[in-house]
Amino acid sequence: MSTIIMMTWKEMLRKRVVLLTLIMTLIFLLAFWFVARTIGMEFTNGNFEPGSMEELLNEFMQGAVSLVVGFFFASFVIAFLAIFSSVSVIAGEAEQGVMQAMIPRPVTRQHFYLGRWIGFVSLGVGYALFLYLAILGVTEYHSGVPGNWWSLTKAFLLFASVVPLLVSLAMLGSCYMSAMGNGVLMTMLFGAGWLGGMLNKITSAGAFGKAGETLHMIAGLLDMVMPADALQRRMLAEMFSLQDMMPFIDLAKADSLGPFAIASVPSVTFLLYALGYLLIALLLGVRAFRKKDL
């Protein structure tokens, strides 16, 4: 399996996926640097008594706003990296004829599939770690990162969990659909999850009155269809220890973070659901590939 994993890494390097991603990430970080600086300058204008609760909350908000903006972009980047790196792995390589020479070798199909999966996931998670630390670093420089090591570690695990989730689903789709068809489906699914997140924010802000309940239910269903955005909301909630901060500040309210408000934080049960979703997608993918005619 290590041969397949190494091959996957080499493929991502040689196809310049890693290079292009890093270049675009540097451009993003440059832009984010100025965003974080501007936010930092805005918040330092307040006249608070040193050591007062107001000053502490101000510092907290300063870091929170920068991080929420940064991770809003970062969640898209890691999601699309996970999707587009793995979306054509089975159907695309079978259509090109790459698999025809590999599969007759004495390697089981599940080893091949899992090797590719680990290759994509490890690369995606590695990139997620780099991006995560970079966003924290920039924010720390300009404002200060709220939270402690434990909350930041939990937040990272949730941030990176989107990678195996999306890779599992993209590879499963790739067993049944062409690269293009699977790419469109995955993008639409991810979009549906994001829409669910937006609906949650809008309905949590109290908009739409009674219709809001129906919309909230639709948002919940969309979260279940594609849990990626819900995982990102939970990630931010863990990062800011939202539960503990509730008596002092409510980041779910639209007046706290505007369109980036952290509403409808998914429960532990939902996290277990997302884990089950990931595992089932992975196992179904292995099963489909074992039976696939190439």
Binding site: E11, Q100, A101
Partner: protein, 322 residues
Amino acid sequence: MTETERETVIRTDRLTKHYSGGRGCHEISLTVGSGEAFGFLGPNGAGKSTFVKSLVGLIFPTSGTGTLFGAPIGSLEARRQIGYLPELYRYQEWLTGEEVLWLHAKLCKLDKSYARKRIDSLLMDVGIGKRGRDRVKQYSKGMQQRLGLACALLNDPKLLFLDEPTSAMDPIGRYEVRGMLQQLRGAGKTIFLNSHLLEDVEMICDRVALLNNGRILTQGSVRDVLLEKSRWTLRVGGMLPEDLEELIETTALPITCPDPNPDAAGAVWIEVEAAEEEQLGWLNTLIMERGLTLYEVQRMKNRLDEWFMQTLSGLDQRGERE
């Protein structure tokens, strides 16, 4: 060595892969012995590649069974002993030729020092040489086919499946590969060859099977096929009708002269069907003895070609319909 004395390497029993529209291969039963070179022939769309893909574990049969070296087809045990050059394939374009071979060496779990020597020697043998350090995307189709052949031979397999191994090569490449296959055959390797190039099949294979619409029409030894009569044309100068009658009477061969009008050099074309080449040699001698001029002698068709055409003559071929 007769077929019964050989160890059976490939055995299939009514192996079937059914696709919609009746495509695929149906109830194919055959055995190939150790050290044998087996030619699998048929028109386009006959189901040859489907059958080979079933044997190497790329597709799963709908019904029937098959074994390679006694192990079920598709099993790891069966796949350890084979080399396969697919018909439609591409290697990873982002790797160099040498890296492709290293990748396959690792998949075959070859010893590192053995793999090093084997890769270097195969790159030379197939004519890639130092271009092994170039990326595959810079290779021509012929070069990719050479790389495919090196890849198939990498683990020194006992059984080699070659699906159209020279289809993209120039005549020099074809000649080199043919020589290579003859060497492998001499070294006791079992070769299963899918090819439209019947000249290659005739020179390399011991036995052939002819497939049409997914079913085996006939199979037998190449020697038997070649023993059948074949047709020749001769360009003879100064020939008169009484000369032709005399030659027919003396040789008892079916000699005809489709166009008795002589060309500018005063020569006519005659046709003859002869089971043995000696009969043709005798006819040549008789022509010379009668004081006629023999300008040219040609075999009308490759003999396996002729057998192929005759066997398929008048039969419906699904490849033509599609």
